[in-house]
């Protein structure tokens, strides 16, 4: 009995040492074993998500069947307005290009969409805001590519395997994005603060009392960022706390993207 327990203890010590070595060498790196497992799990993910969408879709259809007609007429009106807006924007775009040529200014670089992807899973722990998308190296993705959806910036790729990738959202405590204030174009650093407030919030670092910032102001990605393309909407300032004893203000930003309801995203090429 004593010997058996001793043997178990030795097993535990050996496994612990092996795991600690493994942890230190595999930090945020795609590895062979994970890749193999993900080849097996991805079809299972697809199956469950398919069932999920089917049930959710059917349920939504039943719930919304009464409002379909009013929704349709509202959308038709909105579509007319958007068509007009689109026409005007195209006019402005042409005008902008011509004026840039006239002034000999460099054309703004556009960052092409690599692929659209679907969110298939999220981190089950509370301390990280990371999720899995169903596209990987095989679809042309690589590390640090930028992930957005139609509301704005979602995050960046932190691990790319063959068939899936892991996205770290901007609300994760490890995330830092170089941004600018929309009105004054002042550079700010946006950091994730998922341990504050209600978990889906970011904060701005180093905002002094003389920074021109107001509640409700839009935050965009800046042009000095090494990863993120310029001008992607990130969020809105929701709270500014001024401490009378210090020059630094605490500024909280609510991301435009609702991470809890995130299903489809776009992956952009980074700089």
């Amino acid at each position: 009995m004593y010997n058996r327990n001793k043997k178990k203890g030795i097993y535990i010590i050996i496994i612990t040492i092996v795991l600690i070595i493994l942890i230190s060498i595999t930090a945020e790196k795609a590895n062979f074993a994970t890749n193999i497992v993900l080849y097996i799990t991805t079809p299972v993910y697809r199956l469950f998500n398919g069932i999920n969408n089917f049930i959710g879709g059917g349920f939504n259809y039943v719930v919304k069947i009464g409002t379909l007609q009013t929704d349709n007429s509202r959308l038709l009106k909105e579509n007319e307005k958007l068509k007009y807006d689109n026409f005007m924007l195209n006019e402005f775009k042409d005008e902008n290009e011509n004026l840039r040529k006239l002034l000999n200014m460099k054309e703004k670089k556009l960052y092409p969409v690599v692929t659209a992807a679907e969110v298939i899973g999220v981190d089950p722990s509370s301390y990280r805001k990371v999720f899995i998308i169903d596209k990987g190296k095989n679809n042309g993705l690589s590390l640090n590519m930028v992930v957005i959806n139609y509301n704005g910036l979602v995050g960046k790729l932190v691990e790319v395997n063959d068939v899936t990738s892991k996205v770290m959202t901007i609300a994760d405590e490890q995330s830092a994005v170089s941004c600018m204030l929309q009105r004054s174009k002042e550079e700010v650093m946006l950091k994730g603060a998922n341990l504050q407030e209600n978990g889906e919030i970011c904060k701005l670092d180093y905002i002094t009392t003389d920074t021109d910032i107001i509640e409700g102001e839009d935050i965009l990605t800046s042009n000095i960022s090494e990863i993120y393309p310029e001008g992607i909407p990130v969020g809105k300032v929701v709270k500014i706390e001024t401490d009378s004893s210090s020059l630094i203000r605490k500024v909280y930003v609510k991301p435009n993207v609702n991470f809890r309801r995130l299903n489809d995203v776009l992956v952009l090429k980074n700089k």
Binding site: Y11, T26, E28, V44, G121, Y127, I132, E173, L195
Partner: protein, 161 residues
């Protein structure tokens, strides 16, 4: 099919389902640690050795599916499984109180290890971490366990008639 193989397949499917559906349980950024519930129950009911190996297996799966470092969850859940197995040897007699306390302690152990690996290097205060994440998560996890326990009790009553 033998029992061990069935459990391996069940844990595999559970790990995937957990990452898909856990976001619907998110309250103010806090998610319940259902992995801890599963491993503590395996440890308490099947003993130290099985608790340890299944903990290691589930931890590896979580690391591969969503973790950043391969082995961190594996290490934590291996210890959770082993210690709950050891606890069962000493005092477990299908008592809800013991399993509830074990699950809460397992979740707190998980959060403390995470604090030391992720938040301590960033000078994040432990008290702030405990109030914002560690304690709410432990209470939430316990609540989920007690709910499942109560539902299982109801189900058992229904089927026994």
């Amino acid at each position: 099919m033998n029992d061990a193989f069935k459990i391996v397949i069940a844990i595999f499917l559970y790990a995937i389902i957990n990452t898909i559906y856990v976001r619907y349980f998110d309250i103010m950024g806090i998610k319940p640690n259902i992995n801890a519930i599963i491993i503590v129950l395996i440890g308490l009911n099947m003993g130290m050795t099985k608790g340890m190996w299944y903990g290691l297996y589930l931890g590896f799966l979580v690391d591969m599916l969503i973790g950043t470092n391969l082995g961190l969850n594996a290490l934590i859940y291996m210890y959770i499984g082993y210690i709950s197995g050891a606890l069962a040897k000493k005092m477990y007699n299908e008592n809800i109180f013991i399993s509830a306390v074990a699950i809460m302690l397992a979740d707190i152990f998980y959060s403390v290890v995470i604090y030391f690996t992720y938040y301590l290097p960033k000078d994040y205060g432990f008290l702030k971490y405990a109030i914002r994440l560690l304690l709410p998560e432990a209470v939430y996890t316990l609540g989920i366990y007690l709910t499942i326990y109560a539902l299982m009790g109801l189900f058992r009553k229904r089927t026994s008639f």
